[in-house]
Symmetry: C2
Subunit: 230 residues, 2 copies
Amino acid sequence: MNPHERKLTLSVLGASDWLKDYPEAMRAQLVDEGRMVHLGIGEWAQAEGDDRSGLFIVIDGALHSYCAAPGDRAVMIGAVAAGTVLGHATRYSGGPRLVTAVCVEPSALLEISEAALDRVAARFPEVWRAIAGFAYAHTRRTLRMAAEVISLKPRERIAARLLAAAEGQPKEDVPVLRISQELLGEMMGLTRKTINGHLIAFEKAGLVRLGYGEIELRNIPGLKLIANSE
Amino acid sequence: MNPHERKLTLSVLGASDWLKDYPEAMRAQLVDEGRMVHLGIGEWAQAEGDDRSGLFIVIDGALHSYCAAPGDRAVMIGAVAAGTVLGHATRYSGGPRLVTAVCVEPSALLEISEAALDRVAARFPEVWRAIAGFAYAHTRRTLRMAAEVISLKPRERIAARLLAAAEGQPKEDVPVLRISQELLGEMMGLTRKTINGHLIAFEKAGLVRLGYGEIELRNIPGLKLIANSE
DNA sequence: ATCAAACTGTTACAAGAGTTACAGTTCGTA
DNA sequence: TACGAACTGTAACTCTTGTAACAGTTTGAT
């Protein structure tokens, strides 16, 4: 790994929610034990197979994660950006992988094998605690998504999902989501037609502004009202 | 804690997926550091407040877990039986609780505070690893539920949910789910009417047999076909 | 044995999403 | 500049679900 890449990787780890409160030296060892993987558009970073059964930390680029559903369907779960942890320590979660991640931009991932994790844990046992930390964060996000889908009607769900997507974005006054209506529909189990109809209604109400492949959220409180169906 | 209760607790921990591969001594310390909580029907075991911010392990009884969704709704997530971990180490997941658990039978829970966890971790750092383990398991289950809800239509979803519920049961030739159609609907975001209609269709097709407050799965492969919408 | 509570089966109507198909835009590339 | 790919806007129609209301059944407690 070249010095520049190493520096970038360290800064991404240092800024990530799940590692930022742990010792610098632990992050450095994770980087040193890890291996940089570069993937092009369309390539998969999946956590199956032997040598690739550890963690992947997204350093640069963007991926979409999919989850297998009954009947050989793939459901898009969400967009994955820098700082996110992908894959899982199979020793715990054993069995089929949870999500399949596909690159939508050329991406750089830090791969940390289970063996490497064990070596880090020998010096820093608290690394398991950090891992428990992001596992919790994943659970929280997933649970929230499931609760949304179960309880909300499509119109409310669309509003809730837009807000959730905006939360992950760097903070701006007017968040802009770069996502097609097609993909949005796929993520929520709705057809593009349905998404489109509601988005146009939102636009007429001044809540959003629609562009080509992007959605501008102009009225966050208004969207929250709809998500809460009040 | 009386000796009998202590023995029961140890055996539940020893049989649980997430602790069974860890040292007996670690489980014993968890029991010793923990505190037994007895709850009656209708009482809540929720992971908020200060002294109750640690983990709860269900030793006996049964609870239903609910998740808060936007708009002050509560979605029933699932039934919780002995051996399951509830609540969460708030240091990680901070913010509002993930689930609210309500007793449906008189239950006994082992409460392990964060401070107690820290004490256990001083001797057994791998306890964090065990915690990461069940957090993964929770994520896997939740993700699967979300993927089901997103991708499957109601009829397929009902079949998939019946099968998933049967998996958690002790293995029998003909699994019998003790759950009302009302509750089933609440868990899946469908009305009782919809559930009822599909269940009757399943019964006519010989896939299930309906009883008062119970559903007998008579043809697992057939249900799988429907879940996969083939 | 009786009664109330909980649960299941059924109806009719209205609202909403899915399907399919086509036309008009925007974008990147040759 | 011209072209094709990807994306958005729109329409007619069908099918399913939600809503609301009511009757019949089972269960468990008094």
